[in-house]
């Protein structure tokens, strides 16, 4: 368990720091601590998934007193998040700035041409991956993915999603590429709105995150067809009379070869001290160990994969390449 290991390392470092002279590099690394309030940037507006996660972390840190300085959550959603990333890029060396990312870390620079990239930032930790599920209205005649794709091939269906040239749009384009079925993609402003539009049958399908649509599923108005992951969701608790998250087939096993997961990860400005990165990794490990965090993960049926350091950077790099090719094929790149 990395969490436990990390805690032990942390405690040991702390104990040694109490006696050792702080010139020793190892102890200096572990003893860094914020000396002023930490700015936690959210590259989206208030109320969205990233914002909720950031505020949950803020709440957990203050409730369990995990840090002496407070965390201040700041929304900078301008230009599809470009504003927040630019600010991180320009805060070189400032160890009191964190940013939580969603897929717009890749999509915004590619779609708008704004000069930012994850390479301009220091990767800290992958917190979790957000899943995507293909939803249709419960009264629709489509019970399986092949029903749905068959219908989409014979008539142009309307797909609702959050924003344009972002994750929902990319998944839609990927479905088109995999099956040849064309969709009319209609962008809305937030995941909750998208789900309601499907319940009201103003669109035919959505690729909402689990947490955005779960309430309607349980109320019997929406039906999940498949999950865009390589394996089924882990939560086996029954959500409706007959189904649990784990009963939803993966899209691949249902015959639709599309996979997509969204990064919920933490980055820092470039050129920050190693010790600061180590501090925040330790802090986030302790956040992940709290019951509140685990509750959030369960409610949202998140994929709880976590990574740090070089593994994380490699993952992000691969993901960036994938977005570039997906978006290039869909014609979403900035002109």
């Amino acid at each position: 368990m990395p969490t436990v290991a990390r805690r032990i390392v942390f405690a040991a470092a702390f104990a040694s720091a109490a006696v050792a002279v702080p010139t020793a590099p190892t102890s200096a690394q572990a003893t860094w601590e914020p000396t002023r309030p930490v700015q936690f940037l959210v590259p989206a507006g208030t109320g969205g998934g990233a914002d909720q996660m950031a505020r949950t972390i803020q709440g957990i840190v203050s409730k369990h007193e995990l840090m002496r300085q407070p965390i201040v959550v700041t929304n900078k959603g301008g230009g599809a998040g470009a504003e927040a990333f630019l600010e991180v890029k320009n805060s070189r060396g400032n160890p009191h700035v964190l940013v939580i990312t969603l897929s717009n870390l890749f999509t915004t620079p590619l779609a708008t041409g704004v000069p930012v990239s994850w390479r301009d930032m220091t990767p800290v930790k992958m917190l979790a991956l957000d899943e995507f599920v293909l939803w249709v209205h419960a009264e629709s005649p489509w019970h399986t993915v092949s029903d749905f794709i068959g219908a989409a091939k014979s008539q142009r269906l309307r797909m609702g999603g959050t924003g344009s040239r972002q994750e929902d749009h990319i998944i839609t384009a990927a479905i088109t590429r995999a099956t040849g079925a064309q969709f009319t993609y209609v962008p809305f402003r937030g995941g909750g709105e998208v789900a309601t539009q499907l319940v009201g049958r103003h669109v035919d399908a959505t690729v909402n995150n689990p947490i955005e649509a779960v309430a309607h599923w349980r109320a019997g108005t929406l039906r999940p067809l498949c999950v865009f992951d390589s394996q089924r969701l882990p939560v086996t608790e029954k959500m409706t009379a007959t189904m649990a998250w784990s009963d939803i087939p993966t899209c691949k096993e249902a015959g639709l070869d599309v996979e997509y997961l969204m990064l919920r990860g933490i980055f820092m400005p470039p050129g920050v001290p190693e010790a600061a990165v180590a501090f925040y990794i330790g802090l986030l490990d302790r956040v992940r160990a709290t019951p509140e965090w685990q509750e959030l993960m369960r409610n949202g049926a998140f994929n709880t994969t976590t990574m740090i350091g070089a593994d994380y950077a490699r993952w992000v790099e691969r993901e960036e390449e994938r977005h570039r090719s997906l978006m290039a094929e869909a014609g979403f790149l900035a002109r």
């Binding site: 000396t35 002023r36 309030p37 700015q39 201040v72 700041t74």
Partner: protein, 162 residues
């Protein structure tokens, strides 16, 4: 009502304003045209709406311009004296904003309060200066300490550990 004191005439201001709006409209129309005003796969392109809005704006301000150009009114927009009073507010306000951009909010805010109280209100210099500092202090406590809202800070605040 003709005013014979010096100042800016309403007609002049009217012409300048209309011309400025039209120029802004032209800028918008050019940019909108660049990003496309046709019908694309995903509906009307991004430029369509601003393009037509810009066209309407230009038309409307050209009409206003023409009316003003043929008007014979000699009414003043503002007398020199009035402009001077406005400047007494606006110049310090600009310096305040410039100050905030460079050294953070707190010191310029104190200076602004002090300047107004001393120069316009005629208070004693010490009273004004102390009030300014007090105002900054209250702002600091309310925003930074209670509500955890980070306001712009400069080198002086950094020295104090913020």
């Amino acid at each position: 009502m003709a005013d014979h004191r010096g100042g800016v005439r309403a007609r002049t201001a009217e012409l300048v304003a209309a011309a400025a709006i039209a120029a802004l409209g032209a800028l918008v129309v050019a940019d909108a045209y660049r990003i496309g005003i046709a019908w694309d796969l995903d509906g009307p392109q991004s430029g369509t709406f601003p393009f037509w809005t810009g066209i309407i704006m230009i038309t409307a301000s050209l009409v206003t311009f023409t009316f003003a150009a043929f008007g014979r009114s000699r009414v003043l927009f503002a007398s020199s004296q009035e402009l001077a009073s406005v400047a007494r507010l606006f110049v310090p306000a600009c310096m305040f904003v410039a100050g905030v951009l460079v050294i953070g909010l707190y010191l310029p805010a104190a200076a602004l309060v002090a300047w107004f109280m001393a120069v316009i209100g005629g208070y004693r210099l010490t009273t004004a200066a102390l009030s300014g500092l007090a105002a900054s202090g209250v702002i600091f406590v309310v925003f930074e300490a209670w509500f955890l809202v980070a306001l712009p800070k400069g080198p002086v605040e950094a020295l104090l550990g913020y």
